[in-house]
């Protein structure tokens, strides 16, 4: 007994799609870490980053950490994630959306002393969109809850 040609072709296409999905999954598995756009401060803290190699570092700009140094064109700030913090040095113009408490990506290299020397700074935007009044209200609410106890 043989199946109708239509059914055969359907089976063949399903098999082909399964094989294709499997191949794609394996390829992505192989890519895993290498397709990342940036490394995080905790990956630096874990010693997984070699000094001197060009790379990007991404994280949140620590509150109160942006400080101008020396000639006024240079800055020092800290990028943090949940577990670690890296100090970044940068000389140049900071993007408008580069603010404390929001995400940023630094392009440069890790120095031997554990600091990160950046040649370029990109601001990262999160997925939240709200009007200014609402953002103010949210900020005031968090400030009050922090001040309350």
């Amino acid at each position: 007994m043989t199946a109708a040609p239509k059914t055969q072709r359907l089976l063949l296409v399903i098999l082909a799609i399964a094989a294709l999905a499997g191949a794609a999954l394996l390829a992505l598995w192989g890519l895993q870490g290498r397709a990342a756009y940036f490394v995080t401060p905790s990956e630096i803290a874990a010693g997984r980053v070699e000094p001197g190699v060009p790379l990007r570092l991404g994280g949140m700009v620590s509150a109160g950490s942006i400080a101008p140094v020396g000639d006024g064109n240079s800055f020092r700030f800290r990028l943090e994630d949940e577990t670690a913090t890296t100090t970044v040095r940068y000389r140049g113009i900071l993007p408008d959306l580069f603010v404390e408490g929001s995400g940023a990506v630094a392009e440069g290299r890790l120095l031997a002393n554990g600091e990160f020397a950046a040649d370029r700074i990109l601001a990262k935007h999160d997925e939240n969109y709200m009007p200014p009044e609402l953002a103010e209200r949210a900020e005031r609410a968090t400030a009050e809850t922090v001040a309350a106890p």
Partner: protein
């Protein structure tokens, strides 16, 4: 499935459907853009530049939906030898490519003031650019296959459409799998969650539905034009044979 295989029957539905999608599509898109540009508050951080979202997000969806359509048409071509499926694939491809290009261009224009760069090779941006190139390849391949003669019935393009569909989940999950410069998604329909404030959300719904209807209308028009072209060629051939 073969109910629509007959071009006459397809045209009987496609003709009124073109008008029913074109005009509401135009009105809804226009209303959405006007709402997004003039009636919605500016973002607390990005200011007015965020308004490009009302074009960018639907364009991204349609770029990806277009390829899903190609892949489905590919399956219909390969399995059921559906005569209109190959035609549908050829009709969708340039429209999908257009929206993918709009998505890339609008994202780039937004990226300059927001991120500080026109282009970065992160996972989301790169996979979307790959989708655009896949569209160009599909258009070239389908054209070449058609020029070669009617005996292959668009099977090669259909296989390419299926293979290219691998890119769709990569685009969608790129912001989850890898660290990317592009932010994660703001809206999840499955979870019913949105990190876009409701006061800024309604024009997005309008442009999503409006541009999708426009996409359908353009595709239907292209299919009808293609059917007319085939009919004309057949009629001319018949007349030439009769005159001989």
């Amino acid at each position: 499935m073969h109910r629509f295989a007959n071009p006459a029957r397809f045209l009987r539905i496609a003709r009124p459907a073109t008008g029913w999608t074109l005009w509401p599509g135009l009105v809804l898109s226009l209303a959405g853009f006007i709402g997004g540009l003039f009636f919605v508050p500016a973002d607390y951080l990005q200011g007015d530049s965020f308004r490009i979202l009302y074009l960018h997000a639907p364009a991204a969806w349609l770029g990806m939906a277009g390829w899903s359509g190609l892949a489905i048409a590919g399956i219909a071509t390969l399995v059921w030898r559906h005569p209109l499926a190959a035609l549908a694939g050829r009709a969708v491809a340039p429209v999908g490519a257009l929206f993918a290009a709009i998505c890339l261009a609008s994202g780039s224009i937004w990226g300059r003031p927001t991120w500080g760069t026109w282009w970065e090779w992160d996972g989301r941006l790169t996979s979307m650019l790959v989708l655009f190139f896949l569209y160009l390849a599909y258009i070239a391949l389908a054209d070449a296959e058609r020029a070669r003669g009617p005996d292959s019935e668009g099977r090669i393009a259909a296989i390419f459409g299926l293979v290219g569909a691998v890119n769709l989940p990569i685009i969608h999950y790129s912001v989850i799998w890898w660290n990317t410069l592009h932010q994660g998604r703001s809206i999840s329909i499955v979870e019913g969650r949105s990190s876009i404030d409701p006061s800024m959300l309604w024009p997005l719904g309008l442009t999503f539905v409006g541009l999708t209807l426009l996409f359908v209308a353009i595709t239907l028009m292209r299919m009808r034009a293609d059917i007319a072209r085939i009919k004309l060629a057949m009629r001319l051939q018949r007349r030439a044979e009769a005159a001989r």
